[in-house]
């Protein structure tokens, strides 16, 4: 605390990425640019770690007075938690970017969105929320724009829809309450609702608009169409931040609407119940569940690493939304935990894909194979990420998913819990493919001279891999943090052991069992199994002729039977639906233009005559 005076904590966290990003853009030289960028990304994480004591026990406030309105920022335990996750992924991203990007442009806009995310997490009033939200969206949009115009257009349109609905909601709140501060606004709104000053429909509308705005960023299913393209067609190092943290800004928005503003929270009770569940949250839970299932199925069917990871990202954020919708202490605690673990393992995944693309220049599964020998460290990281995503015990991903599952069972939502399981199984299906197709098996001959990922990228991966293991073995650490700002109903027995009302998870013993098991399996593998090295030229198709059209190698069309089974459902695509909608709109506009603004003088005189006729009839009658 002595190192950084309290007054500087928030401004340093907020603005150092942006300032250093601008500097990196200005001094666009090799090394200088990278060093500046890494410094800019390192400042928030350092400052936030130093401010941990103060932030977790009290609050640090900061106000910018622009003259017209005041921007309030507060660092309390909730915002510290989110901001710290963001900053951690941010520094990893900075390391990744210093090896994958050679442009000041990338540094400027990625660090700009970094600042935006920090602002969103720390904001305590709607103006600053909106400003930083837009800064964040703008930065990420520029990153996509550079790579793919079409995808950036999709992202832009949906972001604009989200931004406008947020602006509208903020305006509606302001019109009734006259304040933009979260706490004040929500109290006033609650009071007004009770006194009848605000109709129920009005509050419902505000709520729906906020959900739309945040749902776009989080990528809830009908609004997710931007995500695969925007995540995929991007600098993969930046995507680790984009998918790991920016989607969490959407989640954070859900948390704001659910918990920070109790008046909106109150409307759940007003909306009534459905089969014993509050209707409002039940809808959110199902939105999350649908997101999980749809995105996971789509992820399984992808043939491109980036697409797979992108859909997986959408699906994993679906878990968080689902858990928030389940709406009891354990599930929300699990959601918070999953925010952490998803940021860690998905950031790690994207950095790995960045390394793969940097070193091989390929993105499709069919072009990969046998890279474990060539990139051993990256492979180790990938193993951690895969285990964590698939929810294998000693990793963070297991702890958080377990909590969510417990919460869903406690809330008597078996179907929702079932979707969690289904999602987990599908996640296993696609990460197995990622693991096997990329790292094992036959290596295409053009990948023979692939080298290990560059050092900065490895540093970034390590930064993200360590928390995966630490919080997996010691979930109590994270739960203790979460308990500071939210009463999760989860007891922390020790660092290694957490208990919910229905069960206990002792990570250490699980880990020990796992290690013992692995050791036995390793011994069997080394001494018992009849393993031999297969030459590259050896075929392993079991004597079957390899035909192109039904080539079910794990690298190519591995899940085609699944795709054929799902044929009926795959006909319905949100992407196509939106495209058709856009085409319809365009046709309609064309028709209008052709029909009315048609360049025919006579038509115009007819319009004039008809207007005169209307006036005449109006005047005469």
């Amino acid at each position: 605390m002595t190192l950084v005076p309290e007054a500087y904590v928030v401004p340093l966290t907020l603005f150092s990425p942006l300032v250093f990003g601008v500097l990196a853009w200005l001094f666009d030289r090799d090394w200088i640019r990278e060093i500046l960028g890494v410094i800019g990304a390192a400042v928030p994480v350092t400052v936030l770690s130093l401010a941990y004591e103060k932030a977790s026990s009290g609050t640090i406030s900061y106000t910018i007075d622009t003259g017209v309105f005041k921007l309030h920022f507060v660092l309390n335990s909730l915002s510290w938690y989110f901001a710290f996750i963001g900053a951690l992924v941010g520094i990893a991203m900075a390391f990744g970017l210093s090896s994958t990007s050679r442009r000041g442009y990338d540094w400027l806009f990625s660090l700009m969105s970094f600042t935006g995310v920090m602002g969103v997490f720390l904001a305590r009033d709607f103006v600053s929320l909106f400003l930083f939200w837009e800064l964040m969206t703008f930065g990420s949009f520029m990153m996509v724009l550079r790579r793919n115009r079409h995808e950036s257009l999709k992202y832009f349109v949906l972001s604009v829809i989200g931004a406008y609905s947020m602006l509208l909601a903020i305006g509606m709140v302001y019109a009734k309450t006259g304040t933009l501060d979260y706490a004040m606004a929500s109290q006033t709104l609650l009071l007004l609702t009770k006194m009848g000053g605000v109709s129920k429909a009005y509050v419902d509308t505000i709520f729906a608009l906020f959900l739309l705005a945040f749902g776009v960023k989080a990528g809830v299913v009908p609004l997710h169409v931007w995500a695969p393209g925007a995540y995929g067609e991007n600098d993969q190092s930046y995507t680790s931040f984009f998918s790991g943290v920016l989607s969490k800004a959407g989640v954070y928005g859900f948390i704001i609407t659910l918990f920070v503003m109790p008046s909106l929270y109150g409307i759940y009770f007003a909306m009534g119940t459905f089969h014993g569940h509050l209707t409002g949250t039940y809808l959110i839970a199902w939105a999350g569940a649908v997101t999980v299932v749809v995105a996971s199925f789509l992820a399984v069917l992808q043939e491109d690493i980036r697409k797979l990871l992108a859909y997986s990202s959408v699906g994993q954020v679906g878990y968080i939304i689902l858990a928030l919708g389940v709406f009891n202490g354990v599930a929300v605690g699990g959601a918070m935990f999953h925010v952490l673990s998803h940021a860690m393992f998905k950031g790690l995944f994207w950095l790995i894909s960045a390394a793969l693309i940097l070193r091989t220049g390929k993105t499709r599964f069919e072009d990969f194979g046998g890279l474990a020998e060539k990139m051993p460290v990256t492979f180790a990281m990938a193993l951690i990420a895969v285990l964590s995503l698939a929810g294998i015990p000693p990793m963070a991903g297991f702890a958080s998913k377990w909590l969510i599952y417990e919460g869903a069972i406690q809330a008597h939502m078996p179907l929702v819990a079932g979707t969690i399981f289904l999602g987990s199984a599908l996640a296993f299906a696609y990460v197995v493919r990622f693991l096997y197709a990329v790292w094992f098996g036959q290596r295409p001959s053009d990948l023979d001279d692939v080298r290990e990922a560059p050092l900065p990228l490895l540093v970034g991966m390590t930064i993200l891999a360590i928390p995966n293991i630490v919080f997996g073995i010691a979930p109590g650490l994270a739960v203790r943090l979460i308990n500071r700002f939210f009463n999760t109903n989860i007891t922390v027995n020790s660092y290694y052991s957490i208990s919910t009302p229905t069960g206990t998870y002792n990570a250490l013993s699980v880990t020990l069992v796992l290690i013992v098991g692995l050791a036995i399996a390793g011994l069997i593998y080394i001494y018992g199994a009849n393993a031999r090295k297969i030459k590259v030229t050896n075929t392993y198709q079991s004597g079957n002729p390899v035909t192109e059209e039904y080539n079910l190698v794990i690298r190519r069309n591995f899940y085609r039977p699944l795709a054929e089974a799902l044929d009926f459902w795959l006909k319905y695509s949100w992407d196509r639906f939106y495209e058709r909608l856009a085409n319809l709109t365009e046709d309609f506009a064309d028709w209008l233009r052709e029909g009315f603004y048609n360049g025919n003088v006579q038509s115009y005189s007819w319009y004039l005559a008809i207007i005169l006729l209307i006036l005449a009839i109006w005047g005469v009658l």
């Binding site: 005559a609 005169l612 009839i617």
Partner: protein
């Protein structure tokens, strides 16, 4: 068939609009005294401008600035015609010569029509007419020549400078007014010098109205004949 439908729809629409307009006009009874500004002009026209014809006085004197604007519009329109129909090589393409009667008649009448036009614009402040009808009459004289003779063309070399000079002269007269009096188009001949005050109702009276109307007459005459010329000459294709 559709055309009949369209026609009948147009007729019905127009009948309704016409009924509406007629009802509006019924509030403006025909032939009754509703003069407001006109009364002032009529009462003061002799003393203030020295003109007998109130219409000319209004056009040139009271609302002289508007007239300048209208002359500008005229100029732009005639320039526009010239620009739109401009071709690299232009020539008249009439094939049949006018009949003997027309040729002789036009030759005979041309100076008289010219003189009549001049008369009209010079006597603008006394008799009906003025620069605009006078100029149009002059243009008609040239039109008759165009019709009578296959290869007749106006003397461009004379007309184009004349057109410009007439316009400049108008502005110049106004600027002199600005210098002598206090505003643009101040009637300096009448107001300052009282020139012609003694013989009101005769030719040498009316302040600067005859001067300006002469300029307008020249300008309108040259411009309208220029329009006729532009429309009659076509591109020559080799």
């Amino acid at each position: 068939m559709v055309s009949v439908l369209k026609r009948s729809l147009a007729i019905i629409t127009l009948l309704i609009i016409g009924y509406w307009l007629a009802q509006g006009l019924a509030g403006v009874p025909f032939g009754q005294d509703r003069m407001l500004v006109g009364k002032y002009y009529l009462e003061n026209v002799k003393a203030q401008t020295g003109a007998v014809n109130a219409v000319t006085a209004i056009v040139v004197n009271y609302r002289g600035f508007d007239t300048l604007g209208e002359v500008t519009v005229l100029f732009i329109a005639s320039t526009g015609v010239g620009a739109l129909l401009w071709r690299r090589k232009k020539k008249r393409t009439a094939k049949t010569e006018g009949s003997v009667v027309l040729r002789t008649g036009s030759e005979l009448l041309f100076p008289f029509i010219l003189m009549f036009g001049t008369y009209i614009f010079i006597h603008g402040h006394l008799t009906p007419g003025g620069g605009f009808p006078g100029g149009a009459t002059i243009a008609t004289a040239f039109l008759i020549l165009y019709m009578a003779f296959v290869d007749y063309e106006i003397p461009h070399r004379l007309f184009e400078p004349l057109e410009g000079l007439a316009g400049m002269g108008y502005v110049l007269v106004g600027l002199i007014g600005l210098a002598i009096g206090s505003y643009f188009l101040f009637d300096w001949i009448w107001q300052t010098w009282h020139w012609g005050a003694a013989n009101l109702g005769r030719l040498f009276s009316g302040g600067f109205i005859p001067v300006i109307y002469t300029l307008i007459g020249l300008k309108v005459g040259t411009e309208l004949s220029g329009i006729v010329d532009s429309m009659l000459t076509e591109e020559v294709r080799e």
